[in-house]
């Protein structure tokens, strides 16, 4: 089923719903995108926009009361993650899609040595039994790739600094050489310098192993450093997607424009003049039409009745906004 041309991950119309007392709430509302082989796609947005829920859905880890209600996610043009049964799912997890978790401060089991947590994934997914020595060599090779000293092997998580923990998580993610890694805010809990070191580790590992990376984050600056393409999410939908330089340098969707205008830089002083600061939309009572209408400065009548679809607004750049009705090339 696999062939060279198909993307590492193709997501179509993915929707995740949360049941609440006030009715169903669409945390992810029909999201489509694909990650090419060897590509880094950044999925960016503010808190509550559905980016983490999307990542969790791709690993089928959406917790109750949430559930995937529609869509498909094809790995390498083949298996559809959304439709797998438990057994298939277990074999896909980590072998085909691995996760570098958010923060990583609490992602390692506090009562297990680092080696056992890494050993866990290797032993579980290899068909043959791995001997102690071979296992050790494999783990130390992984440490070398992410720049960890080999003494980490025997340590417990609480004996590691934040950056080291995150590198353990990266080592764990690449243990089975998966074609796709999802990194959920991999550096958000770290100090700036350590963040840079860890991000560079992730980039160099990606370079060496040639995997694809879906990078979830809120930091536009970090996306600029790492991603080949970015997709901007708002209220559970992708509002703009395209090459990083295009989306960050020439944003077309009003939300993307707001987001980028609000990022402070070291070149300019003073605060940007922001419009209304209505908070994130109420997902349970979605307005008719565009979800961004209440905060948008260029809102039109059509925005209140028709939900915009993603249309081309530049080379490989698409935005969901009625300002660009026919698409712009």
């Amino acid at each position: 089923m696999t062939d060279e041309s198909s993307p590492a991950l193709a997501v179509r119309d993915l929707a995740v719903e949360y049941a609440t007392d006030r009715g169903a709430l669409m945390a992810v509302n029909g999201v489509s995108f694909s990650v090419a082989k060897g590509e880094i796609l950044g999925l960016v947005g503010e808190s509550g926009c559905g980016k983490t829920t999307t990542a969790m859905a791709l690993l089928r880890l959406v917790q109750h009361p949430g559930r995937i209600v529609a869509g498909e996610a094809l790995i390498d043009g083949g298996q559809n993650i959304v439709a797998l049964d438990e057994k298939q799912l277990r074999s896909v997890r980590w072998r085909r899609i691995a996760l570098v978790p958010q923060g990583a401060l609490n992602s390692l089991n506090p009562v297990m040595r680092v080696k056992d947590q890494l050993g866990d994934v290797i032993q579980t997914h290899e068909d043959r039994r791995i001997g102690g020595r071979e296992l050790r060599e494999r783990i130390e090779h992984l440490f070398m790739l992410v720049g960890l000293p080999s003494r980490v092997y025997r340590l417990y998580p609480h004996e590691l600094s934040g950056g080291m923990k995150q590198r353990v998580c990266i080592a764990m993610a690449i243990a089975l050489d998966p074609p796709l890694v999802i990194a959920d805010e991999p550096t958000s809990a770290l100090d700036v310098i350590v963040q840079r070191v860890v991000a560079q580790t992730l980039l160099s590992v990606k370079q060496r192993l040639g995997m694809s990376l879906l990078l979830i984050g809120h930091d536009m600056g970090l996306m600029a450093q790492m991603a080949d393409r970015v997709a901007v999410m708002y209220a559970g939908e992708i509002v703009e997607i395209g090459p990083t330089s295009a989306v960050l340098g020439n944003p077309r969707h009003p939300y993307t424009q707001t987001l980028i205008a609000s990022v402070p830089t070291m070149r300019t002083r003073g605060l940007p003049r922001m419009g209304s600061d209505e908070s994130a939309p109420d997902l349970a009572s979605r307005p008719r039409g565009c979800a961004f209408q209440a905060r948008c400065s260029s809102v039109m009548d059509v925005c209140r009745s028709v939900a915009p679809e993603l249309r081309a607004v530049g080379e490989n750049q698409r935005a969901a906004c009625h300002l660009y009705p026919d698409g712009v090339a």
Partner: protein, 302 residues
């Protein structure tokens, strides 16, 4: 997501009004009020030794004359024991007394525990470590070991004195829990904010911390009450209770001493056992109910 979950909570009724909590409290209050209501219907004098004919089988039950039992007239609906106490009167007198010990001891334990818990939580350093060590030490000592000595050497222990002594062992549970809560709360922003708003330590304690402590205080009270009743009935079952007036524990002790179980006198030992089961189940219900108040995560489950 947090936002919506919380909104949902607010739309429901107060978590304090949950069924478990209400039922548990209702039963306990009913049992305690026997103290005032009971004498209207039952002659409490019949709870004393030799006040009626011994060995009467409850109304409506078949007596076994071979064992020397006689059927009861309607005057003794639960029968009588071998020493001529009317079992219904015994229950009416004994149940509130047992609950009373629990209430007094748990109340005192709560007061002492709250004071020490706040003291330890607020003053780091020596005071804190002294209180913590003392708490752990007292927790480790089986209360019954000391109470047996007390009861053995003091022949005239009134119910209140017994409650006072048991309270000496009840406070550590509360102290531990309140200290832990205070420690986590004092790092909370709202406590700092209150201080910045010029509130004294005292105001911070009762104005900011106490309201949030309520479910924990109530839960501590309930668990102390259960522990107290457990200890006091245990002590009485060992034969170390007050002899004059019956309680649930002394009744069990009397029944055991008279081999009531093996003489088939189920109406002697079973009323106190059944009442105690009801008491402990009510306490458990209250605790589970309070758990739901203090820990919203549990509400979804079970």
């Amino acid at each position: 997501m947090a936002e919506t979950a919380e909104t949902r909570r607010s739309r429901r009724r107060s978590p304090w009004l949950n069924g478990k909590l209400m039922l548990g409290i209702a039963v306990l209050v009913a049992l305690l009020s026997l103290q005032w209501i009971g004498p209207l219907f039952v002659d409490t004098q019949e709870a004393l030794i030799g006040s009626t004919t011994p060995n009467l089988v409850p109304v409506g039950q078949k007596a076994n004359p071979a064992l020397g039992f006689k059927p009861s007239k309607s005057a003794h609906p639960l029968g009588t024991d071998s020493q001529g106490r009317d079992m219904l009167a015994v229950m009416v007198v004994g149940t509130p007394r047992t609950l009373y010990v629990g209430l007094v001891a748990a109340g005192l334990g709560l007061i002492v525990g709250t004071i020490l818990g706040f003291l330890a939580g607020f003053s780091r350093g020596l005071t804190d470590s002294t209180i913590t060590t003392l708490t752990d030490v007292v927790l480790t000592i089986p209360p019954i070991a000391v109470l047996v000595v007390v009861a053995a050497f003091f022949t005239q222990t009134s119910v209140t004195l017994l409650a006072l002594i048991i309270a000496l062992f009840a406070w550590p549970t509360a102290t531990r829990q309140i200290r832990a809560q205070v420690l986590s709360m004092r790092e909370q922003g709202y406590v700092k904010m209150a201080q910045l708003s010029g509130a004294s330590i005292w105001k911070v304690m009762y104005g900011e911390m106490m309201p949030n402590l309520l479910p924990y205080l109530a839960a501590s009270f309930m668990s102390m009450m259960a522990a107290t009743i457990l200890v006091v009935t245990g002590l009485e079952t060992l034969g170390l209770g007050s002899i004059r007036l019956p309680t649930l524990g002394t009744t069990i002790n009397n029944a055991l001493q008279a081999s009531a179980v093996f003489r088939g006198m189920w109406w002697w030992w079973s009323p106190p056992v059944v009442v105690l089961i009801v008491i402990f189940l009510s306490l458990l219900l209250v605790t589970l109910g309070l758990d739901q108040v203090a820990n919203p995560k549990l509400r979804k489950h079970l």
